[in-house]
Symmetry: C2
Subunit: 451 residues, 2 copies
């Protein structure tokens, strides 16, 4: 058993205060026991649980900043998607591995200690499977292992080009599976499950997968599905198309035709009716909010306050990775609500720290959304935590009551000094143990992708 | 004469490309001349002009993250202002100097090379003048000199508590001047003018200063006013109060009763009628947008696209300093527009880099708004520039066409490797030459302020 004494430990549930944090050889939090332990106990200042990144398309990290040039006055999510498809067509398992490794290093340096990888870049550019068929997924597993990040791989089922049932375009050929092939693919991936690796299922969207197929997949995999994720109601056009095709809004349709529960994570869920907002909250499902990507793409603002008032569960994801920071996601999740309402402190319904309320929400949703033992520092959970930089001016003179608000709402420099995953320190003095090696392989991959 | 060869130099006007940048002993950009110079010429990779910070209340930097705890469901700009007033009451010249020095170090590390200090913390807490009366302003000048930042000091005229003419509250006692006293105060400050120090005039708001007094001050100071700044139309309540008192909206009233021109900077100008938006654009005045503070306070979104389409001039400011970064200001200025419109690339009306369009706007407004020779790297302007970190993964494989978009829209780590002001390098390897000294004095000041 190893221990540290934290002057302030916010465990994701109870308010922060002094705590002796103990973990075993498997990297699991255990009771610290009473009284002193033999030898010196290392001390830490500000400790909080590592944050789960609930939505990632790793390859898109290499596109950050490359899709910001104006094409026309009609630039939108849909023109961005065309750029993304062209870019996606260039990746191989080697370039995915290099880009994902750098991305996962950046996640750990920023405070994310686990990631849900919403993975649809399955096949060769012409649509033929790699040998092995899991080559791209394997590259993501290897990247996470190299970086020391927990990963929930979510192979994406992507079958059609729209609600009208049209076939995938040639640019979408890499993404597709028949239902039977997908079930075999998922079964093969499940062999990789471990405390560091979870496997779930992602349905790309109701646009791309019929609800009858979703039911078929759920029935076929039974208790073996793992966490279930779906993109939903990100753009008004998706809502309009679903209404036109089925007379139902996307969330309304998913609830009615499939049913959702705590196994489910709805990604974005930006455009909701009040009935849909209440239905998600009542189901116990998690909403994965990606404020920096949703702003970059002009998606819109999620009705956070109504959802929280209804008892809804949420976390954050960095999605397209124009930003890789739980701080920017949480800060701008709250700021978007303030701009929409002309009020402050929107994410909490009770007096007290806004940041603590948001970090509690992330902690409470992490285990169900990732399928991993993460989110809080409760006994039996993974020993994944962050040590904030007590020397940073943004935390100068911080006290227990304000340190979490300063972490989320003050300044621009990364404030994570250490990141620990499964009881191992992977970030020290703000930098990942891999140093420059990941960045050098990333640079080489970018040269190959742009050649 | 000193020179560097930049592989890419965006001078604020023409597109970036290779350039030999030359400056003289006074820190002014001069013609590089033809042919090689004797000796080796140092080289830089990505160079752009230092960015002017058009709006700062330095003392508020010490509050960052301290006003994010929920009090009630009615938390708003106005409850925040009460917290700010309590905090403002604690400052002395020594604590203002220490806080401003750290803030100005952070500005330079983030890419701001000049600041407009909207200064209203004039007197002792009980309202009695310091001896000398300029003690607080002197502390700000000293902080800027210590950090190596150019400063435009804007002494604020603040005379009443509202449009109804009520007197200042006891919490506002530090801010007030009679008109004659203010004219003497401004005259005394003008003696400090130099290439590194400009002095202008700020009228706090139409709420706090009657337009007849603004006319009186402008007439009395004539050609000696320097740049003119005013807070305007930040909150709907201010617009409503102005309409109730005068039957005019604030910008409408300022234009009709005082008149505005290129000497003027309107701070925030968030809540505008289409006629007001067009009037500001036609006047040649600059709008100082502070997106991170305006989001933190729930102010609302400026009609950027309409304003740009009308030929309006704008720049950015960090205002309350919850964030100290031109990147976060520009990124979220653009993102706010995307969220409001459901479209992308909003800040530019022509094909090409969104970031370049925004940085051009900042460059074009800097000289008029600061009254300093800053903003572009044209001959005769101050040799104030930034060198981006070519080794940063966010710039990995960057090319001329995308480097500015990556600077503004990719990642979270500061990308400024060097900052130069008046031809002197004040930031190297991302860190200010003062090192930890400013942070230590800042920490001591915070302890004093919270004691």
């Amino acid at each position: 058993m190893r221990v540290i004494d934290a002057a302030f430990c916010f465990d994701g549930r109870s308010p922060g205060g002094p705590r002796r944090l103990a973990w075993d050889a498997q990297g699991v939090v255990v009771p610290a026991g009473a009284g002193p332990v033999s030898g010196d106990v290392p001390t830490a200042s500000w400790v909080l649980p590592g944050i789960a990144n609930l939505h990632s398309h790793a390859f898109q990290r290499a596109m950050a900043g490359l899709a910001e040039a104006a094409g026309s006055d009609e630039d939108s999510f849909w023109t961005w998607r065309e750029t993304m498809y062209r870019f996606a067509g260039r990746f191989s398992p080697d370039t995915v591995r290099a880009v994902a490794t750098q991305l996962y290093v950046e996640m750990l340096e920023a405070g994310f200690t686990s990631v849900c990888e919403f993975h649809y870049l399955h096949h060769a550019p012409d649509g033929r499977p790699y040998a092995p068929a899991t080559a791209m997924a394997d590259a993501l597993f290897e990247a996470a292992e190299t970086a020391g990040l927990r990963i929930t791989l979510l192979p994406v089922l992507y079958q059609r080009g729209g609600f009208d049932g049209r076939a995938l375009s040639s640019r979408q050929a890499r993404f597709g599976h028949g239902t039977e092939a997908f079930l075999r693919f998922h079964e093969a991936l499940c062999a990789h499950r471990s405390p560091m690796r979870q496997v779930g299922i992602a349905f790309h969207s109701l646009r791309a997968v019929d609800t009858a197929v979703i039911r078929e997949v759920l029935a076929a995999r039974g208790d073996a599905t793992g966490p279930l994720h779906v993109h939903i109601a990100e753009q008004p056009a998706e809502v309009e198309d679903c209404l036109a095709a089925h007379g139902q809004r996307p969330v309304e349709r998913l609830v009615a035709e499939v049913g959702i529960d705590a196994r489910w994570t709805l990604v974005h869920a930006t455009h909701l009716s009040p009935v849909e907002t209440a239905a998600i909250a009542a189901s116990g499902a998690t909403v994965a909010l990606c404020p920096t990507t949703e702003a970059n793409l002009g998606d819109g603002l999620f009705p956070l306050r109504e959802f929280v008032a209804a008892g809804g569960r949420y976390g954050v994801g960095s999605d397209s990775h124009v930003s890789v920071s739980p701080v920017e996601e949480l800060r701008w999740l709250e700021y978007g609500q303030r701009l929409a309402e002309g009020r402050r402190t929107r994410a909490t319904l009770v007096p007290g720290s806004t940041a603590e309320a948001m970090l509690r929400a992330c902690a409470a949703s992490a285990a169900a959304s990732t399928g991993l033992r993460v989110g809080t520092l409760a006994e039996g959970q993974g020993a994944d935590w962050l040590v904030l930089d007590a020397q940073a001016p943004a935390l100068s003179g911080a006290i227990d009551a304000d340190v979490l608000d300063r972490f989320v709402f003050a300044g621009n420099r990364p404030l994570v000094r250490e990141a620990w995953v499964a009881g191992r320190r992977v970030v020290a003095e703000g930098r990942h143990r891999l140093g420059e090696a990941a960045a050098e392989r990333y640079a080489a991959a970018l040269r190959a992708l742009r050649a």
